[in-house]
């Protein structure tokens, strides 16, 4: 089974989670070694400095980290353009593509803006037009997410880091209403959840993610490998769906 991890980061967090190893972050080389140990072929990576320090500096650190590693694709973090921090948006997106960036992230709470059209319209319309995925760590901000998708129903959004304490009643309405919304499974550890989702919606909108290095690689690898769905569906979730989404990204 071939795994393409859509939720992993490199770099050292500002505040290591309590109880985690002395070195809770990893370099690109260390990530690749851990992927080899686990049996993961490729990963879509962000840099933790994008969230903990500054999106622009983090984006550059990410570009440096993945340069020369063809098993690693990148995520950059966006900002609202009104403060002119990204410069010309089309040039910024071109630089991202040249750096191996295939998807984007947004941290509205940390970067102090609202995930709304007034703030992000110019950026998100470009993402939607180019079918560039936006990966969002959902947390408890479901109201904001519902509002965002109401404004940008064509946006490709990957809901990541789902709270393990039950999220189906939050995300299923979005799956049913918006055809380009997908679910990443690192936090979706509900017993029977993969089978129920695939039974109701098919396998095309669920993506394997590990949450490494904050989480172990093996948890959802084992859960997916032995989910009671077809081998074809497992492979789609493990890697095929992300291959397809990234293959659709336009210039």
């Amino acid at each position: 089974m071939r795994f393409f991890d859509c939720n992993t980061y490199v770099g050292l967090p500002m505040n290591p989670p309590p109880g985690q190893p002395a070195r809770p972050g990893v370099s690109a080389q260390e990530l690749l070694a851990a992927m080899d140990r686990a049996g993961i072929e490729k990963a879509l990576v962000w840099h933790v400095a994008q969230r903990d320090y500054d999106p622009l500096a983090g984006n550059e650190l990410l570009a440096e980290a993945i340069a020369g590693h063809d098993r690693l694709a990148g995520c950059w973090t966006l900002l609202p353009p009104q403060c002119r921090e990204l410069g010309d948006l089309d040039e910024w997106l071109a630089r991202a593509a040249a750096a191996g960036v295939r998807a984007f992230r947004a941290f509205g709470q940390e970067n102090r803006y609202l995930l709304r059209g007034e703030a992000l319209g110019d950026v998100l319309s470009r993402l939607a037009a180019g079918r560039r995925p936006l990966i969002l760590s959902v947390g408890k901000e479901w109201q904001a997410l519902y509002d965002l998708l109401g404004e940008f129903p064509e946006l490709t959004v990957i809901l990541a880091d789902l709270d393990c304490w039950g999220t189906d009643r939050y995300f299923r309405p979005l799956i049913e209403r918006y055809p380009n919304v997908c679910v990443e499974i690192s936090g979706y550890i509900l017993d029977g959840g993969i089978e129920a989702f695939v039974g109701d919606y098919g396998a095309g909108r669920m993506l394997f993610g590990s949450g490494f290095p904050a989480a172990y690689h093996g948890g959802m690898m084992l859960a997916l490998a032995h989910a009671e769905i077809s081998e074809q569906d497992k492979q789609a979730i493990a890697a095929g769906n992300l291959d397809r989404l990234l293959g659709e990204v336009g210039p």
């Binding site: 309590p18 985690q20 140990r37 304490w165 017993d191 993969i194 172990y216 093996g218 084992l222 032995h226």
Partner: protein
């Protein structure tokens, strides 16, 4: 795959391992208000256990903790339907003293069902050292029973201070710290080292990478118990995390079954 261990290879290939018959020491059962559970019935949970190589589940039905009108009868019915696969904790709701007294009075006549008690103080909003819990603590202490308590770092109801106080006051209780004082990992390890009858249960611990290695490095391989909150969490997720952790296969056997086998044998509830 997952890691370079022989046990990992067996689980990754087959989904379970005959050499590692898992005992899950923290389960529930039935529907619950806050979460959609695809597999909440006893039958569906047994199916999951079969898929994951879980030999025995010790659980407390949601009704026993959240619905006093139903109470512990729901757990008893399930155990008697699947006596080779299930045992139960008697759920303690501290707000209903008469019902608790009746349940405790009947405990010894239902040892085929119940192996110990279950506390959920954070949800019931009553601290462990409240008088309402005292009959349950005394009962368990007199019999040396396991008590699985939901524990959470920073909680004034079932946090480190309450746990330490209970461990000192009731030394015969086999005290299972559900969720291992989640987030307060250092204090959990310290308490487990200080008290011979305190164990760390791993539900919702295994989604944080590194905690398991911290506990094992603290010399606690023999005091860690596997748990899933089933039907909340897929056992394969927890098993996969344990297989990923940088510990030995001996540690993995301890966590996944040996420690629980020893604990249950000590209280006369050894699985078949």
């Amino acid at each position: 795959m997952i890691s370079d261990s022989a046990l990992a290879e067996s689980f990754f290939r087959h989904g379970r391992s005959d050499a590692c018959p898992i005992i899950d020491m923290h389960g529930h059962m039935g529907r619950w208000k806050g979460i959609y559970f695809p597999r909440a019935s006893a039958e569906a949970m047994i199916h999951t256990m079969d898929q994951c190589g879980v030999r025995l589940l010790v659980f407390c039905h949601h009704a026993a903790l959240f619905c006093p009108d139903i109470g512990n009868a729901a757990s008893a019915r399930a155990v008697r339907k699947f006596p080779d696969r299930l045992r139960a904790y008697l759920g303690v709701n501290p707000h209903y003293g008469a019902a608790l007294a009746a349940d405790l009075a009947g405990f010894d006549d239902n040892r085929d069902v119940f192996v110990g008690l279950k506390l959920l103080a954070s949800y019931h909003q009553v601290p462990w050292d409240a008088p309402a819990y005292e009959p349950a603590w005394r009962f368990a202490d007199q019999r040396g029973l396991p008590v699985l308590g939901h524990t959470w770092g920073g909680s004034s109801l079932d946090g480190p201070e309450q746990v330490r106080r209970a461990a000192e006051k009731y030394p015969n209780v086999r005290l299972l710290l559900g969720h291992s004082l989640h987030g307060d990992w250092g204090e959990a390890a310290a308490i487990a080292r200080d008290f011979p009858n305190v164990y760390l249960e791993l539900t919702a611990v295994l989604d944080d990478r590194g905690v398991l290695e911290t506990f094992v490095a603290a010399g606690l391989s023999g005091k860690l118990l596997f748990g899933t909150d089933l039907p909340w969490f897929d056992p394969h997720h927890g098993i996969g995390a344990i297989l990923s952790a940088e510990i030995t296969d001996e540690d993995r056997h301890n966590i996944l079954h040996r420690n629980a086998e020893r604990l249950l044998a000590d209280v006369g509830a050894k699985p078949n």
